[in-house]
Symmetry: C2
Subunit: 430 residues, 2 copies
């Protein structure tokens, strides 16, 4: 096992360059740990001449990434092109068809096409590995697939998008509104120019659906993830949550049981006694609850060239060691097809925020709508009028079915008393 | 690969019974994940008739655990006997000599004899796995050995003893002294009747030395761990720390570099901004700092039958899958022999607590001793007299060499002004 493992690398953005830099910097140590050297032999990217801070002249260059699948000097293809379909998917399919193993950081592709690719890899005894696709450098796929493999996992949830957590932490620290902070995050490079995938929760949903399959042994079902992002959050929501002993975090939450497969990305109120309340900045964190191990937490950098490269190369080390099996911990054909759970019956406490006109009878109207829908109010805070004369009403409900909260808000829709969007959030248990 | 993996289990205490219960409860799922069933075939314990809540009549019984090594119906021996030497070590050696793989939860044995056992396992192409020996159910050995394998790890540290953390959390929550809480913890089963291994830091030191070897690729050096426990902590220390924005945690800390291998178990002041400050109760948590991945955190239940059984069976699943390599991530013969670092040159901020007589000139004497040793004082709090007339002085130093703090305390030793033990703690950086 002293033959090097030869890598063809598609995509030389920050992560691709990071992988090359990592192998250059830690190569000797990695060879000792992997039992053999891991060497890049061929690369492909859009622009051959761009300065990436690493020397790529020593590698074979190919213009068309799809050619890497059949490159004679490569055992494994690392796909860092991105995008759920298109050239990334074409390369992934061609790689496995050509008898090479595949490592990818592409959460969108795995969320949409992971099952197909896993079947192809398994039938050819090849590796398909995607640690870098979820939570950046945090080895959470490995933690679920192997570390917690002895457990029935009932629930997996966490902070899966660093951009959102960075913005929420900053809103919290500075008492400012979402849109202001977003602009700063974009300027600093913590948010994309088109931030919609991040802040509307799609990126977190990709990751959640991957985690759910590995954790529960269920078929990937990205289409069933209910998604709400963080655009609509106000500084006032964060302040009210803080007054109640909570922080707001965008969580991906999945559970599985006789009720079906439940998958949701939604802002939550997280109690300060919960470790996720203390995850600050662009950090990611995933909690898994197993029937023997209890609650496990994995936390670390969710993005960035160094952490993502670390996860990509960890996958390569597994392949170099010959230590890989079915991508989803069990054969793809053994994954259960589970129907999507109905969220309406779920019981939880909820936070409801209404912006209302400052006039007589408004509170009575709200209280009546809640009562008629069967929502029991635990606490209600009405703050003095905003500069525009509107008033913020923040309500925490007792535990009850989610459907009731939605019904109460539905009843209030169109009311003359409401002057802004109402919204509600889940409250995470201890 | 549908032949079952056959297990001989030595030791049927709570963890041993937990392993049987786990395999009974989750067996079908485990078989799907492992690619084949994992079945216990033979057991050994002190008392055959004791009620353990699991049926052991279906397994072969042997009186002498050493016989399991040569049991014809076992592929792997799980050693849960405990103790660094004696029957556990004899069984471990015999198991590997007989060509069977070994899984153990025995931190003391691995801390003292891990290198010898790893050599024996490697030369016979067998597995030696000990995930359950460190941090109970938390897959941190796997996280370092595989998940972070692409990184040079500069430092690994964490909360490695659940009993101490349970006691510290309770002291903190209730403002009570160590000895009182210890008695309660013992009554609740959170502390042993002889708690010394836990509260004097030996158990944490065993785990730290194992983590250090896996993280740094250095030979195990348990004898070089500097150990201080938590017996001497006062409720007042916790209150002073809280007033300064810290919580007190017993940390195992190891780092490696040109200065040598540094390993220490010691109570630390942990800033509230650090995730370890929010680890409450008997939970364990380990932080590893890699040169590409940054800071990773692994957290979960550090003890208990369910979590420990989860880690034992995770190791068995790896073996069933054929996914195991050298126990310390690289061959035992490639582990570097590193000299023990001199802690005196380390620079950090420190907390110093003195109990002094309430009389003129005491503060001047303390301040002079600090000055003479070159210790720069950042803050000093003197609280009103205790019921016995003594006064507590809590000092936080500016960053400086540890040697100076020790020298200052040495100067004060024997002074008529001191009426109780003085002590100092490290302050963990952000």
């Amino acid at each position: 096992m002293t033959e090097p493992l030869r890598i063809a690398l598609a995509g030389l953005g920050t992560v691709g360059a990071g992988v090359i830099r990592l192998l250059d910097t830690n190569g000797e140590l990695i060879a000792r740990r992997a039992g053999r050297p891991i060497v890049v032999t061929a690369v492909s990217a859009r622009d051959r001449t761009k300065d990436r801070g690493v020397d790529i002249a020593r590698f074979d260059w190919v213009d068309d990434p799809a050619e890497l699948a059949r490159h004679p000097k490569a055992d494994v293809v690392v796909e860092l092109v991105g995008g759920s379909d298109g050239p990334a998917l074409a390369l992934a399919r061609a790689t496995l068809a050509a008898g090479k193993s595949l490592v990818t950081a592409n959460k969108a592709m795995i969320a949409h096409h992971g099952l197909e690719l896993a079947r192809a890899a398994e039938s050819a005894n090849l590796a398909l590995k995607f640690e870098a696709a979820v939570a950046g450098g945090v080895p959470v796929i490995k933690g679920l697939r192997e570390g917690a493999a002895a457990n029935v996992i009932a629930r997996v949830y966490g902070i899966l998008n660093g951009t959102c957590n960075f913005i929420l932490s900053k809103m919290e620290a500075e008492g400012r509104d979402f849109s202001e902070i977003l602009g700063e995050a974009q300027a600093l490079g913590y948010a994309e120019a088109d931030p919609s995938f991040d802040i509307d929760g799609v990126d977190a949903a990709h990751k959640l659906s991957i985690l759910a399959s590995v954790a529960f042994g269920t078929q990937p079902a990205f289409g069933d993830v209910a998604i709400t992002g963080v655009r609509h959050l106000l500084a006032a929501d964060i302040a009210e949550a803080a007054a109640l002993g909570y922080r707001i975090r965008l969580l991906g939450v999945a559970d599985s049981g006789p009720h079906g497969l439940f998958q949701r990305v939604h802002p939550h109120l997280v109690p300060l006694s919960h470790p996720l309340a203390h995850v600050i900045g662009s950090t990611n964190a995933v909690v898994a609850e197993g029937n023997f191990v209890g609650r496990l937490l994995f936390q670390g950098a969710g993005a960035g060239d160094g952490p993502t490269a670390s996860a990509v190369v960890a996958d390569l080390i597994d392949i170099a060691r010959g230590e890989f099996g079915p991508p989803y911990a069990m054969p793809a054909d053994a994954l259960a097809a589970q129907h999507a759970a109905d969220s309406g019956e779920r019981r939880a406490r909820a936070y409801v925020r209404l912006t209302v006109a400052d006039k007589v009878g408004v509170l009575a109207e709200i209280a009546a709508a809640m009562r008629d829908a069967g929502v029991s109010i635990e606490s209600l805070i009405q703050r003095g009028a905003n500069p525009d004369g509107s008033v913020l009403v923040a309500i925490v409900t007792h535990e009850g079915p989610e459907r009731s909260v939605a019904q109460a808000l539905e009843k209030l829709r169109g009311s003359q008393s409401l002057v802004g969007e109402s919204m509600w959030m889940h409250i995470l248990g201890e």
